[in-house]
Amino acid sequence: MTASLASWGNYPHAPQSGLPCHWQADIGPQWQQLIESHGTTLPFGNGRSYGDSCLAGSDHVLQLRPLNRFIEADWENGEVCAEAGVTLGEILQLAIPRGWFLPVTPGTRHVTLGGAVANDVHGKNHHRRGTFAHSLVCFELHRSVQSPMVCSLRENPQWFAATIGGLGLTGVITWVRIRLRRIQSSLIDSTRVRFDCLDDFFALSTEMDARHEYSVAWIDCLASGNAQGRGCFTAGDHCETEGLEVAARRSLPVPIRPPVSLVNPLTLKLFNHLYWKRQSANRQYRKVAYSSFFYPLDNIEYWNRIYGRKGFQQFQCVLPASVAAAALAELLKSIARSGSGSFLAVLKRCGDIPSPGWLSFPMPGTSLALDFPQNTELATKLLPRLDAIVRDAGGRLYPAKDAHMSGSDFRQAYPAWKQLEAMRDPTLISRFWQRVIR
């Protein structure tokens, strides 16, 4: 069967035909076959990139999700080596009962190891542990014309740095070896508190980030006037006692893709208002399952379908610390005025641990992420306005989420793009890359 694949945001709508690799030995021949028939291709994991960074220029991808075997698991020292198509969730399934967890995890467990490296994902503990690259021991990189090489900080360090956050352009990652971290419990001690304005967010973040490993905030992206910048701050740490249990609850799927987006100014305003009201003004301490703390959206399978056939775009930017407060206020004002946005808008303070990856997204400062239902006004009005604010602040957008940023913004924000372009495998190119390097 040849699958038809899409990116998570389903925008741009460009169905990809995938040639699956079930065995490591399949990679070379399948890749050659794609080159011969389509010129270029792109490695594709589990399709969790939102925009066009996971879509091949030729619309024919090398599908690596079926390559999902573990190669070695050392439960004494907490090290796992697995093929690139293994998802973080599959690792957790084995690691948690044995008292281990991922040192860095993004907001979904459905990303593959290869994808986690290629996008250098980060999570709620960025201020403590940096990006996914810091859990890497090494990985194997397969190039179309060289024999496969092992890359780490010491071995082939150039390829290591280029491939981390390298958007799958330097070659195909065949396997990845990562370090895990010890946990005593699968529960998280969490603290929640609501805040009324951005100043309060920054004050909370300063206080909580110093004390807790994980922190993140939900923000009401439609609140304006006095209410602008209101939201709810969540911090957490791994519990010291209680059992080690893998989340067993089956997720409920959104069964179909409705013709129009269910997220509209009316539903959004209502939801955000009720959600904010529900939060307690006092600090609430609770023990919650790791799955609902880290992966709340994974509980709704195919949640991306609620945006309808046209899909959606995610906007995620990071703003340098010195100007973050002012720029954020500007962004929120523009978003509230547009009436567009998402239920889940996320604010997160990023730390100053640098990633070895050249094109890694985070920088010291504050990151804002939210979704917009796709419509024509988005590209002509709102996004250019937001891009200008980010540009003036010296911030940048996240390629893994992006379907719109201009080439000049990208090249300005990621000057190492030239080095990556020089090391790109000539047979690999994405729609994203075609768009931004011109």
């Binding site: 069967m1 040849t2 699956p20 079930h22 490591q24 030995a25 075997r69 573990f70 084995l94």
Partner: protein, 246 residues
């Protein structure tokens, strides 16, 4: 925790079943043609919690090699709780129509070699008076369709053989389960143009197979809706069926 022999262990369906058994700390004896693939499968299952995994390289169409394989398996596992016979290949129907040699080779691979193996396994299991023989046949064996009747004929032979064997071994407290997968997203079906709704994922299929083995089902369609589809297809009368290009 069980002791399990899998012949055709690198097939996608077998791998997915083996992962479920590995999570249960089972002991596995894997038989396959490709040493490298067997090694990779073995490492995967060990990481997933299998108590012990042993590999054995054998081409199942080489009937003479079967007894030595089973001796080694028994020496390793001591006793066998489940034998999963999961090997096979999807022949090119058109090529089989043109070449007697190919037709016979494919029939041997999917049909007669399996009957040979099952004959051996049946006697050994009967001697131990316990265990389950789980055999992957196919929905293709339910009716001879013009697009795939050589494979279908081989699988029909296997299904019928298993039905008889089930009745025979029942008296020896050995259970035989005939598993009939529909279309599963595996390397075997790569490149076939199939409606996405009908295509099942190997791990979904594996969960049903492992549960079916535990419940001692006689004939198991996977996914279950194929039972209904094949019932309807069997109802089509000959005068109409021969005019169709199923």
């Amino acid at each position: 925790m069980k002791k399990i022999l899998i012949v055709g262990a690198t097939s996608a369906i077998a791998c997915a079943c083996a992962r479920l058994w590995a999570a249960d700390r089972s002991e596995l004896f894997l038989v396959g043609r490709d040493e490298k693939k067997l090694r990779q499968t073995c490492a995967d299952l060990q990481a997933r919690g299998a108590k012990r995994v042993t590999t054995f390289v054998m081409d199942a169409s080489d009937i003479a090699a079967h007894p030595a394989m089973y001796e080694k398996c028994l020496a390793t596992l001591q006793t066998v709780d489940i034998c999963l016979v999961a090997y096979g290949s999807l022949p090119n129907q058109h090529a089989c129509e043109q070449s007697v040699e190919q037709a016979m080779e494919q029939f041997a691979n999917n049909g007669s070699s399996m009957i040979a193996l099952l004959t051996l396994l049946a006697n050994r299991m009967a001697a131990q008076h316990r265990g389950t023989l789980a055999v992957i046949s196919s929905v293709a064996g339910d009716r001879g369709r013009p697009s795939n009747y050589l494979y279908g004929a081989a699988k029909a032979a296997v299904s019928t053989f298993c039905e008889g064997l089930r009745a025979r071994l029942f008296k020896s407290a050995v259970h035989v389960i005939t598993i009939k997968p529909g279309v599963v997203d595996t390397p075997m079906t790569l490149g076939l143009a199939l409606p996405a709704l009908l295509v099942a994922q190997p791990d979904t299929v594996a969960r049903r197979i492992v549960a079916g083995i535990n419940r001692q089902v006689a004939v198991l369609y996977v996914p279950g809706f194929w039972g209904l589809i094949m019932w309807l297809i069997r109802l089509i009368p000959q005068p109409l069926f021969k005019r169709l290009n199923l």
